[in-house]
Subunit: 594 residues, 2 copies
């Protein structure tokens, strides 16, 4: 069963997002088109053999808490080994830190393949890499030497420990404490919940990246520090001892059941040691490096689930006969049609495809910006970083919100069968539901977009992004087929500007409630503009690129047309609603939501 | 925990939809406001004690197939008994047939309470009543006497057997056969799938209402007849014998796990007898009486799940503190706010409420029309029936489609907790997902609305409905608070008309593909108009009604404002999309959805 299209993925990498512009940097000189193709083909092989066949089984036999620890599906051990062997884990790290300077674009593309095959897997490894990344970025050489090599082998695995029972979206309120001991380490005490990959039987150690408050630190988010807190600490003689990190349970969830979610208690017996990473009180800033990457990864997870859902319903729609085909000839058809022949089924399939592939393109765009940030300096680097930072909340929230709707369409295409466990469609829908919550809910992404990213450096990010979009519009206008879509996107930018012209004065007047109350609608509006831009870009390349498979070319153009006809027009009502609300959602101190 | 609001339900019954207009008919003379209140309070008591406490358990311990039969949760037996005792089962039947002439409005309102408490229950009984209703409507006196009394006691339970492996949406293709025997019964042979409540340990017999094709019958939907096929048939000596109806399995599903879904095999040993109901080849017509009722019931199930989801997330939002409250004073708040104080959480809650309560009002409107149909004659009856028939696809599809989004918001309000099985939010989302598939998918509802109901009797239904809507608009305009919403609804009707003026010429030209390709978008558009109408109506009554609780009054007005600000504006883009598409979703014979 097809769960993603490698040809389309390569089309994005090579044709649309031009990875050769990244490969020209000396850092990546080991790679060329052939080696990248080989790397992706290998990821596909592993996925075909080790990941996809276990997707439904991971759901049926979920991670469980027993005997003071979490047990995950045994196949995960084989998967971890195979993926480590492929070199994917930490592949973007420098060789000095155990990596191979693989561009983020390729790492992300391989991650897409893994998650499309089985989305319960990559989180374990991605969080390990992200944790190792934090250590290499902000840790001491000793910390790097102690932890990173084992983490890139996944014999030790990493987690991010942010959320506490009373501190989720609002991290400033976290209560875990860190007290400096005479020996230089900190004594850690507190509880962390929803810790993905936080404990299982297939790692020798867990390296938790824990946010905690040092005694006497400032209140709120300015008093949070980052600590390495291993489950087992290394004694002076080199042997290991338990570091008082207790696993209290594994959350049972509606989806992603193979991906465990731990409740951890640090220092219940006052014997939990943590080691400060970087400077005190800068923990949140450091963590946001990991967080931003994790947000792209969550966007990719959602994208990958939506992709697999699409291919599964596509396949079904080409096999299932039901109903007569409509026509404009005034005749009644006599034969049963394949359901893919029905307009409404086609609408659902094209919605799935345009959301999944549009998101995938945006993520490739983002990973490319990531690569550019790491290969540039000074103002150029700053500018690219601004664009990446602006796109990140969209690359996270859009695939998770619209991916859910796409996965719901995936169920619908199968009718009653879609609701049964005999087909994975219902699992895609259950699995994807978490992605709009992970690493900052959609509300948080929306506040980040409008409250921080749009206004940062006097709106420079938006100007820079618009320059790029306008370049693509100009190019699209040169082509007859694309002119009307280019113009539609141009008008959509005007709608965005009009909306911002209404909103921004509130920000200048520090009327933050009026400014931000409809941030989620603005996020949706702006997402449609950005995804349409991706589709226009894909349209341009689909028409121009030489040697492109005709089926791929036409498939892209059809999906692009769908997006401009059925999705982008939503921005008009979103803009109208933002501009003309009665303030109905603002708290007036009365209790009328009842 | 609150799962519905009885005060609001009674406000709908007595104030908005004026059940006194039904009670004035002599048939219902046994009932008045007090007896209705008592009936509903009793349903609430049963729900509190017997249904709601088992909601999550029905999910954790689903119906299973074992030993050639299906086992459902033991509590269901207690529930069946309690509800039968309350008189709800078949309450709208005449006393002659074992009922008490309870108006459909009240029966539906009680059904809402049951399904809000635990949506895995009412289907078992509603299908039994629906089957009994088919028998009383079209069966012989002997059939009525044989089956109906036991069915209204739920000692025998009924099902509707339509779907087959190759015939779901397209019933004309069903293959189950019926061969007339010398003894007057028919020999039934075939398979039926997705049979809700099709087998379990708590009924002495199952009375399956089976669609099958009599040997030599016309092809397609004109050759389908309706049969009573009991699991156990009565021998001449009055004892029972197995009627060769095998239970082959129970579908395992992503939700509604307490409500079993059987795979039945009729006549595997050539010993399955069926008895024709009414005339041959009229089965589909008969079945549609049951189907239309079942569609309202599915709409009610979805509405009830969305209602319960709303109250659960409302409760959470009033207890959970997280983040600082935004304001327009240029200050930073210092205290943690309750999450219900955040605009985006309010937006999600108001969306949930406006969808759930708006749907509930539409269903009460529909049940009232049902009651009126049964109490009127001639042209009046015909007119009312036309309106009911027009509203039915909306009353089924809107709650199931928007209810899913509402239930997803319910998960989102709880953040990470919403994804865990520690809270029922994720179960609401899983349970409600089937409702847009049951009894005709949303696509089918949309084709029914645009393809049949809008055009029936030269569009008379729409004209009649518009008359009613315009009356309510005129009344709303007399009130200052409501004028702008009344005008907005008026404009929305113009948008609907404009859309139909574009579409209808295709119908006249028999260009059915062009006419129907975007039927689902039209259904969504028209649903928003209809639900806005319900909200305007509720707005009028909320302002006018005397003695209304102030909190209820203001709560309604706020939810109404939400709907007009955030939901109704969507119709503009829906209309634009219908009118201006590139024909992207029409099959052009090429294989470009790939």
């Amino acid at each position: 069963m097809k769960y993603t299209d490698l040809n389309f993925l390569k089309f994005l990498l090579f044709d649309v997002h031009k990875i050769e512009e990244i490969l020209k940097f000396s850092k990546h000189s080991d790679f060329d088109k052939d080696t990248i193709n080989m790397f992706l083909d290998a990821a596909k092989d592993i996925s075909d053999q080790e990941l996809y066949p276990y997707y439904q089984e991971f759901d049926e036999k979920p991670a469980v808490y027993e005997d003071d620890g979490i047990k995950i599906h045994p196949q995960l051990n084989n998967i971890f080994k195979a993926i480590v062997e492929s070199g994917w884990v930490g592949a973007h790290f420098s060789p000095e830190h155990g990596g191979m300077n693989l561009p983020h674009m390729v790492e992300g593309a391989a991650g897409h393949i893994y998650s499309a095959a089985n989305n319960h897997v990559s989180g374990y490894l991605a969080l390990t890499v992200g944790s190792a990344n934090l250590i290499t970025s902000f840790g001491t050489q000793e910390q790097i030497d102690t932890y990173v090599p084992k983490m890139l082998q996944a014999s030790w695995m990493g987690t991010m420990c942010l959320t506490e029972p009373e501190a989720g979206s609002s991290l400033g309120n976290l209560r875990t404490t860190a007290s400096l001991s005479d020996e230089g380490h900190y004594e850690i005490k507190g509880q962390k919940i929803f810790i993905s990959g936080g404990d299982h039987q297939f790692a020798d150690n867990f390296i938790h990246m824990v946010l905690a408050r040092i005694d006497g630190a400032p209140k709120g988010s300015r008093g949070i520090s980052l600590f390495i807190v291993p489950k087992y600490r290394i004694k002076e003689d080199g042997t290991m001892e338990f570091n008082d990190v207790l696993t209290a349970g594994d959350y049972q969830k509606m989806g992603q059941k193979g991906y465990c979610t731990a409740h951890l208690i640090f220092g219940e017996n006052d014997n939990c040691r943590g080691w400060l990473v970087g400077e005190p009180n800068k923990g949140l800033k450091y963590m946001f490096q990991m967080m931003n990457q994790a947000r792209l990864e969550v966007g990719m997870t959602a994208t990958s689930i939506a992709t697999s859902s699409y291919f599964h319903s596509l396949q079904y729609s080409k096999e299932r006969r039901q109903g007569k085909k409509l026509n404009d000839k005034g005749e009644r058809a006599t034969e049963q049609a394949l359901i893919i022949e029905h307009p409404d089924v086609r609408r659902m399939l094209l919605m799935q495809k345009s959301v999944a592939f549009g998101s995938l393109s945006l993520l490739m765009e983002s990973f490319k910006l990531y690569d550019l940030v790491e290969n540039t300096e000074g103002e150029e680097k700053n500018d690219i970083f601004l664009i990446l930072d602006l796109l990140t909340p969209i690359a996270k929230a859009y695939p998770s919100e619209y991916g859910l709707l796409a996965a719901s369409n995936g169920v619908q295409v199968l009718g009653g069968y879609g609701f049964t466990v005999d087909f994975p469609q219902q699992q895609f829908l259950r699995d994807i539901r978490i992605t709009s919550i992970y690493e900052g809910t959609t509300t948080i992404q929306a506040m980040d977009l409008l409250g921080r990213k749009i206004t940062a450096q006097n709106g420079k990010a938006l100007l820079l992004l618009m320059e790029r979009i306008n370049e693509d519009i100009a190019e699209a206008k040169r082509n007859e087929t694309l002119t009307k879509y280019a113009e539609q996107l141009e008008n959509s930018i005007k709608t965005t500007q009009k909306t911002l012209e209404y909103l921004l004065p509130f920000a200048f007047q520090k009327k933050y409630q009026s400014y931000l109350k409809d941030a989620t609608l603005f996020l949706e509006l702006f997402s449609h503009v950005v995804i349409s831009w991706q589709w226009l870009k894909m349209g341009v390349v689909s028409i121009k690129a030489e040697g492109l498979n005709e089926s791929l070319r036409q498939g892209n153009i059809l999906a692009m047309k769908y997006y401009f006809n059925y999705e982008l027009p939503k921005i008009k009502y979103l803009s109208d609603t933002i501009i003309s609300t009665d303030d109905v959602i603002v708290d007036d101190g009365k209790d009328y939501i009842n």
